[in-house]
């Protein structure tokens, strides 16, 4: 059966969808532009491109600094995301399930790095690390990143925990599972989307963080975004554009896979 909608509602719907498309184009245009530029054979970043070429992609491999710093960034991002997600399970369980003094304060504190100015966090961290004599090491860089990214898995896990049916755990206990087994065989599998999206968020936020890393690196210890920035400061060729395009494609594939497999986006929008 067809019912006619009120015209005001129709035009409102049009306005909303046009705005959404414009916003999408606004967000995507720079990325697309970067991609187009990266295939230009010219030695300078210029638009419109003159001739198609893959050479800047091959050039990524020739720049040793980018390769080394990407490895450091990958190792920091992976370890930070792994440790933070593990710690976040405990934190989220405590926040979601138990009442304890100072709970609101602790929750706000754990989630605060998202809202704090990163430069301030970076300055605070480097002063602290200098004070305890561990500045400019891989470990201090790791801890700095962990402070920044732990809020993300806590958020996604809290969302998963609130969505979980509380009688599942009780069913498991009543069937003879110990508290640990109930957690391991029932709660943890239910938290999978929260775990995966939390891990991915933490990984990606750490991987391309600039403002905090810039305070914590020296000499041979650098991260990928810092090296890319340094390269752009000294060279004008489109190699960074090629690298960025590659980066966007890989990240998009990972997120698309995680969404298909674990529906992570529906959990992280909450």
């Amino acid at each position: 059966m067809q019912t006619s909608k009120a015209p005001t509602k129709n035009s409102f719907n049009y306005a909303v969808s046009i705005t959404a498309w414009l916003a999408l184009i606004f967000l995507l245009a720079p990325v697309l532009l970067t991609a187009i530029v990266s295939f230009n054979s010219s030695f300078f970043i210029e638009f419109p491109p003159k001739a198609f070429s893959f050479k800047w992609y091959w050039n990524i491999a020739n720049i040793a600094a980018i390769g080394q710093s990407t490895l450091i960034s990958l190792s920091i991002a992976f370890v930070a995301a792994l440790l933070c997600t593990t710690l976040a399970i405990a934190a989220a369980l405590a926040i979601a399930r138990y009442h304890f003094p100072g709970k609101v304060l602790m929750t706000a504190f754990l989630l605060s790095p998202i809202t704090m100015p990163m430069v301030a966090v970076g300055i605070a961290l480097i002063q602290f690390f200098i004070l305890i004599g561990t500045a400019f090491t891989w470990y201090s860089l790791l801890i700095g990143h962990m402070v920044l990214v732990i809020a993300y898995p806590i958020r996604t896990l809290l969302a998963s925990l609130t969505l979980m049916n509380p009688s599942l755990e009780e069913a498991s206990l009543s069937l003879g599972a110990s508290k640990f087994m109930a957690f391991w065989t029932v709660t943890l599998p239910q938290l999978k989307p929260g775990l995966i999206s939390g891990f991915l968020f933490a990984f990606l936020i750490s991987f391309d963080n600039y403002p905090i890393s810039v305070f914590l690196v020296r000499g041979g210890l650098t991260t990928m975004p810092i090296e890319i920035f340094n390269y752009i400061a000294q060279n004008l060729d489109p190699t960074p554009a090629a690298f960025s395009t590659l980066y966007v494609i890989i990240v998009s594939l990972i997120i698309a896979f995680a969404e298909r497999r674990y529906r992570i986006i529906s959990y992280s929008i909450k």
């Binding site: 009688s167 599942l168 009780e170 069913a171 009543s174 069937l175 599972a177």
Partner: protein, 360 residues
């Protein structure tokens, strides 16, 4: 032999008393329903038995042994949740096998048990499916099989049929009762649905405001309730005020609205005492006025106010001259249309054996 004993259980939650000295003794293999309105404490009682709530005082004994202080996973009780609580990431067979797995029973023997219990609930063909692909009735059966496969000492059912539609509920009622009898497992059903309680249980415990008010066989509770609230809660009822207008050594005469008058055993009734009298609608029948035996059986007179046809029964609302409403359920075949035309005078005969008198 007693299967389960509740001994003076009191429970406070968040500074509020939820259960007041709940005591009950259940025979091995017996099926008892806890029936009451929401908030009466029936679910709290169930959760206390399962071990999720620790009572501040009192004892829970299974086969004579106290299980206070025993964690839920050490109690060997099968629990079926209202929302079934099937593990969404496990197949039906894995769900059923879960309790065995937690008891370190795996391999072909466990597979055989799982198959046997899935067959018992007629679901052996869906063992590989995930719970999200099952219908409501199927989920209910899987939850039941999962709770039963561990051979529980006590089976606890929380509103087991509440989420099912009418037809499925009737069918599951029969199946559940057969299964319970066949396995001989001591069972407690929590429900707010009186039909479910009356049809499934050997005995029904009616709970109000955190205490068991009355416990007995479904028929005894329905026909001979000792509390007016139990009578009011279970099925339809007519409750009206009467006065003791005459007493002698053996008998007392009660008088009430609509010219109601009856002579009953005196008991502890005193002259001029006000009492509440109750009778179920199906124990009222239409009589032709001035019938020969009309003065022997207690009668009510009034006008037909409204009739409601309910298929197997016809419900008639009668208004007495002193403005009391009575409800009678009669078989539609036993009456003529002329008798029940609105506004017509009508008289009702009360079955004397089913008249309940409650002291106020």
């Amino acid at each position: 032999m007693t299967g389960l004993e509740l001994d003076n259980i009191s429970v406070w939650l968040n500074g509020q008393q939820i259960l007041y000295d709940v005591s009950m003794s259940i025979k091995k293999g017996e099926c008892v329903a806890l029936l009451g309105p929401s908030g009466c404490g029936k679910t709290t009682t169930l959760r206390t038995i399962a071990g999720f709530i620790h009572p501040q005082s009192g004892d829970v004994r299974v086969a004579g042994k106290s299980c206070i202080g025993l964690a839920p996973n050490k109690r060997n009780m099968g629990l079926v949740f209202q929302d079934y609580a099937l593990f969404p990431h496990m197949t039906v067979a894995q769900n059923v096998a879960y309790g065995l797995r937690m008891r370190k029973q795996t391999g072909p023997e466990s597979d055989k048990l799982v198959k046997q219990f899935l067959e018992m609930v007629q679901l052996d063909h869906v063992g590989d499916r995930l719970p999200e692909n099952l219908s409501g009735g199927q989920k209910q059966r899987v939850a039941l099989a999962r709770a039963l496969v561990i051979k529980p000492d006590i089976l606890l059912l929380d509103e087991p049929l509440g989420a099912l539609d009418r037809k499925l509920r009737d069918q599951m009622q029969v199946e559940l009762k057969q299964l319970q009898k066949q396995l001989g497992v001591t069972t407690i059903i929590v429900t707010h649905d009186q039909e479910e309680a009356l049809s499934l249980a050997d005995r029904v415990a009616v709970m109000f405001s955190g205490a068991i008010w009355e416990i007995g066989s479904p028929q005894a509770l329905y026909d001979m309730p000792r509390h007016r609230d139990v009578m009011d809660f279970l099925g339809g009822s007519n409750l009206f005020n009467c006065c003791v207008t005459d007493v002698d050594d053996e008998n007392a005469t009660l008088s009430g609205p609509g010219g109601f008058q009856t002579v009953l055993k005196r008991g502890d009734l005193t002259l001029n005492e006000d009492v509440l009298v109750g009778i179920r609608p199906e124990h009222l029948s239409i009589s032709i006025p001035n019938e020969a035996d009309a003065d022997k059986a207690p009668t009510l007179r009034g006008l037909v106010h409204e009739t409601v046809y309910k298929g197997t029964l016809m419900e008639i609302l009668i208004k007495t001259h002193d403005d009391h409403m009575f409800r009678a359920s009669v078989s539609p075949r036993s009456i003529s249309q002329a008798q029940i035309t609105s506004g017509n005078p009508i008289s009702l005969v009360l079955e004397k054996d089913y008249i309940r008198v409650f002291k106020s």
